[in-house]
Symmetry: C2
Subunit: 431 residues, 2 copies
């Protein structure tokens, strides 16, 4: 493994090794957010490097922006060129331009702990999938009974639904417990109030770089080449709102209140050495979904829950992205199969990533089996669903020989539900 | 009714009367698209009027843009001020600045038939609802049988689902028949191929002007005041793809390929005289959905189908927006109830607007009862679903005393499905 002159990047548990080089958007307080790359414990200012002529991505500058979208739209050859250049700049025996110039280093590098990380890209559309066999089996059993657990189309379609892009937020953003229509068990009619079954979903999000043309389907290979990278994604879910609303047209307010993503986009290029095949098919795929090669990734994933006042979190689940039944490339190809135009900044949630074991499930719904089997945290406290003040952290990394390609953390803390407004107080404005 | 010095605006069937003043985006070929307002048979260039100081909307210019979003974000008082100013400029006995200056008129006014109309606003998010009682009953009967037609939550929730914003196109854009997974009747497994049950859905789209705050619900009155205006909306639907994919998480590729909207946004202000109450409740509403006043509109709507080579279309349905069970304001309040942030440019489809009579249904699925009762067109041809070359036109207007507040047309012509790519030909790009 090639070493960096930024020594923290060479630590064996460091997520941001020289092999990684994930992209994000950062700024100190009061500074304009701009694009950066994480390495070791620092972030390198890509806007500054570009201005100084030390990197060149496109014909016009793309990094002095509050979002990665302009860079992502450039496409795979340009991504590869910038990646190669960054590796040269940060390798121990690479280009000395930055390494040997202390004044330049001071201008370009900032400690990660000193900067604020922003949403890394403008989310064009957010689509969430339901493409993990264990999760579908678990949830289907709870929602529809074991005999109807897996819908008849599940093995044929990477099932997806459109989510809400406006509430995709960056890690660290507090999550307000939603209000909603909830039908108490055994009652016929719903009430309106705070969610009581607030859950997380551990997912990976694929980020679309280059757009497609409306009316034209994509092959899986084309789809794969359009994916710029991946983020950790927590698809917060209000299970009681969901249970009452989701039939017949799918989840809506149960998912619309918030989705958290990691501040760092780990590129498909950095993950390439960790490609693995999807599991054997239980039903042959239609040709348009056939993969030309291995398209999942071997990425270890963990969920940590820290209750209020606890000093340390409890790791409540350990799983791996390779447990998916459909890859992001297959999901993207399916998404475009009708001619749906895909755009730079589209975010595709993998769906909850559960493993086969009980402690490898990707949601509290599954971990505590709908409330029937509470989890015990390291503090001795019990959990069936999330409580106010709980902090959830997702983390994940691909494990190389003596190095990691990691995502850092994706965290969120639960705030109490808002007070209900006086629904009749506001003026009618019937202009 | 106040008359305009643009005489075509005073014709009793003219959609673009002085009472209307709908906003859109236009340009001659080769010109930069910019905002305009339709009156009679002309479009007035709002960017030019703003530049000349004849109208003033915001502190900075908002009309020399390819989308209405900046203007829509200004909020109700500014919308009202611009509307009042435009009425004065175009009223027969109003401000003579434009009326009496032929050179200025030549600079500012263009015949509608000479300009190209663009998508009027950048669609932030597209949400489609399912909030018409007749439609839900009809479709539910066909999909789930009469005993399960209306889901248990239907009378409590304005049921909605997130749609795809990237494929919302302006009237006049051709619609390519989608490919997709389809399970032939009586077979267990699906194939992949062109949709055979291509349908339209007659809807009205509500356009959100001012945004809301993440985590904060909206009252119905607040929601109503945020709605800038309405467009005609055709939610093209692939019924065979839908039937196989929509359980358990809702429609996806069956709707993702295209949604057409009219080029003109008719403002809530122009429609205010036509407000009507929602129908009597069959089940009491939760307080957060209670309307402070009448929030539907009396808008006549028609669907016209012109087969290839026919000279004239057949009107296949006549209905009215007042047939909705939930208003757009209720839908928007529900949409924000979980704390979901609403944005300038969000588009909320009403859901298919069917009336109680057979010839007032809003989709071919209902009009031809799932294919069982083909329609006969004026040419003698039969239709169950749409055929290649068919041109669909939606139109609608509120009928005043001797004048109309109309939407113009929303049209789309069906093109054949694309040839399937060679799914294995593309290079794998496994970088």
């Amino acid at each position: 493994m090639m070493k960096s002159w930024i020594e923290t990047a060479n630590l064996i548990e460091c997520h941001f090794s020289l092999a990684n080089l994930p992209y994000g958007v950062f700024g100190r307080d009061g500074e304009a957010p701009r694009c950066g790359v994480a390495i070791g414990d620092v972030v390198a200012d890509l806007a500054a490097l570009e201005r100084l002529g030390l990197i060149e991505a496109g014909d016009a500058p793309v990094f002095d922006k509050p979002a990665l979208n302009d860079f992502m739209a450039l496409g795979k050859p340009r991504w590869a060129a910038v990646r190669a250049r960054l590796r040269a700049l940060f390798a121990r025996d690479g280009d000395p331009a930055l390494r040997d110039d202390p004044a330049l280093r001071a201008r370009v590098l900032a400690p990660l702990e000193a900067v604020r990380l922003h949403l890394p890209f403008k989310v064009a559309g957010f689509t969430d999938f339901y493409a993990n066999r264990h999760h579908a089996q678990n949830v289907g059993t709870m929602f529809r009974g074991p005999e109807n657990a897996l819908p008849p189309n599940w093995l044929s379609i990477p099932i997806g639904y459109n989510g809400r892009a406006s509430t995709v937020v960056v890690s660290g953003t507090n999550i307000t417990r939603p209000l909603g229509q909830i039908r108490p068990a055994g009652q016929g009619l719903p009430g309106f109030g705070p969610c009581r079954r607030l859950d997380l979903e551990l997912e990976l999000g694929a980020v679309v770089g280059t757009p497609s043309v409306m009316g034209r389907p994509l092959t899986v290979a084309e789809a794969d080449a359009m994916i710029f990278g991946y983020v950790l994604l927590n698809d917060w879910s209000a299970r009681d709102i969901q249970a009452w609303e989701y039939q017949p047209l799918g989840p809506f307010q149960a998912k619309a209140f918030a989705t958290s993503i990691s501040p760092w986009v780990v590129t498909a290029a950095a993950l390439a050495p960790f490609r693995v095949a999807t599991p054997p098919r239980e039903r042959p795929l239609l040709p348009y979904l056939t993969e030309p090669g291995p398209m999942l990734y071997d990425i270890d994933l963990e969920i940590r829950l820290r209750p209020p006042r606890a000093r340390r979190p409890t790791t409540i689940s350990r799983t791996n992205y390779r447990e998916m039944y459909f890859s992001a490339a297959q999901q993207l190809a399916h998404h475009a199969s009708s001619g749906c135009k895909m755009e730079t900044g589209d975010l595709l949630g993998s769906g909850t990533i559960s493993g086969p074991a009980k402690d490898s499930r990707g949601s509290l719904l599954e971990l505590a089996w709908g409330g029937a089997e509470p989890l015990t945290l390291d503090t001795g406290e019990m959990r069936t669903f999330l409580e106010d003040g709980d902090t959830l952290t997702l983390t994940g990394w691909a494990q190389g020989e003596g190095y990691r390609v990691g995502f850092g953390d994706c965290t969120g803390r639960i705030l109490p539900a808002p007070a209900e407004p006086d629904w009749t107080a506001a003026e009618a404005h019937l202009g």
